[in-house]
Amino acid sequence: MSLFHVIGFGLNLLLTLCCWFVSVISMNWLNDGEIMTTKTLLGDGEQIVMKLWEGIAELSSKIYHCYPQYVVAKKWWRKLLIAWVLLWIIVSFSVFWYMSTQAYEKRKETLTSMCDERARMLQDQFNVSMNHVQAMSILISTFHHGRNPSAIDQSTFARYTDRTAFERPLTSGVAYAVRVLHSERKEFEKKHGWSIKRMDILEQTPVHKDDEYDRDGLEPSPIQEEYAPVIFAQDTIAHVISVDMLSGKEDRENVLRARESGKGVLTAPFKLLKTNRLGVIKTFAVYKTDLPSNATPNERIQATDGYLGGVLDIESLVEKLLQQLASKQTILVNVYDTTNISHPISMYGSNVSSDGVQHVSALNFGDPFRRHEMRCRFKQKPPWPWLAITTATGIIVIALLIGQIFHATINRIAKVEDDYQKMMMLKKRAEAADIAKSQFLATVSHEIRTPMNGVLGMLHMLMDTGLDVTQQDYVSTAQASGKALVSLINEVLDQAKIESGKLELEAVCFDVRATLDEVLSLFSGKSQEKGVELAAYISDKVPDVLIGDPGRFRQIITNLMGNSIKFTEEGHIFVTVHLVEEVIESAEEFKMESSLKSTLSGLPVADKRQSWRNFVVFNQEGSCASFASSSLDQINLMVSVEDTGVGIPLEAQSRIFTPFMQVGPSIARIHGGTGIGLSISKCLVHLMKGEIGFVSLPKIGSTFTFTAVFTNARCKNEQKIQQINNQSNSVSSDFHGMRALIVDPRTVRAKVSLYHMKRLGVHAEVVSDLSYLRTENGVTNMILIEQEVWDTDLEKSSLFVKNLRRINASVSPKLFILANPINSSRAGVSANGFPIPFVIMKPLRASMLAASLQRAMGVGNKGNCSNGELPGLSLSKLLQGRKILVVDDNNVNLRVAAAALKKYGADVVCTDTGKKALTFLQPPHQFDACFMDIQMPEMDGFQATKKIREMESDINSRIKLGQLPPEAYGNVSSWKVPILAMTADVIQATYEECQKCGMDGYVSKPFEAEQLYQEASRFFHVKPNQNT
């Protein structure tokens, strides 16, 4: 894989280079003029480079990122590729041509030099021979003609020439012919004893053997003006003696030319008589006197004495020469006599015709009349120009390879682009499918929820009827299952909502402590069942009232606690709420706190600091100061839920926040649940701009911690806060200023108790043991003893009670036992005769604590209904005697709705248009509520509601201003009749729509008892005096 990457990288690099190269070229074309002008200006050079780079970047980005242009780019690339390959083929051919030409030239040069060298040497050798022959002519002229009588006769000559033959290695023989005029013939013949013989016949009958050659067989020469009979001859050619040289055609010409020119002349090559090899005869004239160099031919003829001829064996001459030289094998040499240009006579060399390279060197053998030349050829054909071939092939191969790479790269890019497109499409489809899934889920859940409400409502009503115990049990089971189903559906709906991003948080005032109490009370039953201690602690620094979404906040805590309680069999579940800043500041303190013995139930817990180790807030230590100070209104809460449950297996911890993922399939079977609670919680936490984390040790427990950002309610909505405060403080005012003593050895638990007492306005102190009890510290109204302490040493307890009585008879402090669900079974044990202390069951909650204290101490109880107590009243109680206006344009619906409401005891007025409803609801009126259809002709429910709200606010303001007498409006200072929408299709948007135009809620049509109850109970509080 990595190799592949490396190659890929290489390709990219190469491609980039190519791209750069091409773009440079194209840019050059584009900006040709510009570049030409700017070339001289160095300063602008950089700019150009920059421009080029920009161009390249643009180009490459175009190629890489613009899909619509990518097809065009592909074509363009293909053309470029072909051009590239062609270019390199041309280049390689030209290289091949160039190199082979070079080789050819070199060969030719070699040939030339070799040929010239041979020619020169041949010439030299020849000339040397010639010089010797010439020297001999001088010898003859000196000793033959210059002396009388002659100092040379034939035998002398023969011997001399034989002995000096080494000087003339190439001359096979020399002969001397004397000039004899016809007048002198007789005398001459007599003198020599033989007659002058004719030669032409001799020429015609080639002789093979010297011995058999019969000189006497020759005919005597016919009468001529002059003769040139050979008188001396070397032994090798002794047969020519007495032969008239002038009688042979060739020789005659030679002789005549020689005596005219005074220089050596050559015959045309001919076959030598004896050796049958090619040879030439060189003839020199011998003069009587020394002639001046500028003598005329005539003078020369007159002065001629005789002629010396040397037979030159050209063939052996050349052969010898070539043998002397190296590289004889490589070269073929031909020597021609080219006197007659059209018919060159070959003097040496095989007559192999070859069209190869040939070099011709001229030879000068000292005879101006005759021309000779040497033709050289290489023996072998020229070798293949392997170097050129390999080079060219190499270039082509490289070019093709690059082309291939290029092609592959383009294809790869195209493929990647294609894949990318495909992926994008798949991604879109997947997203669409996901959305469709969410919508489907939402729709289906909603469709299920609506009939489920019906089922629940019916079950609820069924419970009101007279059922026996078994039936009651069945019905309650069915209802519980139904409720579980609805809550599950709600979870799924939440998940779908979160996924589609539709979930929005409310921003309303709420009391954190009350919210937490509610959650605690929700789980109190379960925790008591399981014997798990529940506790909540909220730091003093957390403001009472915050602005945020209490429902969602509660949902998160409920989810976490629900999980905890599901997996905890013993020990405790402890919810703590702090400010984030507080936690940062007191990190050390937390370290201490987390030491083993000081947990709530004494069981070890997971170190909760680990649960927030990944939080961003804590990791940017430096910024937290600014973050804290920058927004005074911003409250960063940190909530931890600590349990001593089974913990989460390590391998499952990573997917704990993934929707529908549970630790194992068996979990769902054992504990139920869908596994989306945590995922929803995470989403909600994120919506609250917080973070969530956890730490979990198997078999020890888990701690989940999340942060959430709320707004401090201090500055806004003073009135509302007051309202909320009043609600929660109504109970606490009774205990204000009282003193309490809490006996608890465990600091954490004591802290929780202290916190709850503090909320009630009770001043409390903590002691760890009963024996610490002191009476000096003034009046103590109550003593709260942890059951653990009470139970461990009953004797001590009784002693303590005794002491207590004795010390303070007037104001006897009330004794309370704080009972754990774990040992609640023993709570009733009477302490031998002593008044059984009041038992307060945990989990501690403000309202519950207050109620218990009230009951015990007999204070307050002015009929205030405690908050926690829900009126278990049926719908009919709620609606009894209410005057309700029903608005619907559909007669049937109107009838049915009216009848349904009437059945619950309501006083129903019907009307069929929005306009009529307006007149009915014109204050003052007696209506307690209005049920309004949404879809109506003329004026729909939304419009009508808006109108009604406008009307009401107008009248309210006028009453306030005193423009209208309040008495005329039934002394009601603010008119706002609850309006509920009735709708057949309960879609998500409707609720928001309802709220937007001032409606209070909606009920589905036809009515479902449960839903109607839920909605109605929001604004109909049961007022006993209403029933009259």
């Binding site: 019906g454 344009d889 559909n890 007669n891 049937v892 619906n893 009838r895 049915v896 009848a899 349904a900 009437k902 059945k903 879809q935 002709p937 057949a984 049509k1005 036809p1006 009515f1007």
Partner: protein, 136 residues
Amino acid sequence: MQRQAASMKRSLFNQEYLDEQFNELEELQDDANPNFVEEVVNLFFTDSARLIRNIELALANGPYDFGRLDDMMHQFKGSSSSIGAKRVKRECSQFQEYCNGRNIEGCKRAFQGVKQEYATLKTKLDAYFQMAREAS
């Protein structure tokens, strides 16, 4: 007789002519208004007859005002669901779907279905009430 009426009602439920809502209507019937169900159903029939006529007119010739058709059908559907006429309601939904899709042919076809279901329901319910009256 009463058993017969009950079994007839059950068959109406089984064939899905009626749903739970009809039961709720019957629940609402008490001594104060003993003929409540019948009243409401008759109201439904008269109301629907008018609506059907209107829709028929609107469907007879173009141009088709789909919005209006949808409104009328919504009314019809609303009242159908109020008395628990399940099959009629289903046909109405079908009609509304076609209406949203601007498919006039589909609308016409669906409307035939609506009328048919409506007519069947009317005969069945009439027979049922007849029987119920005789039973009491």
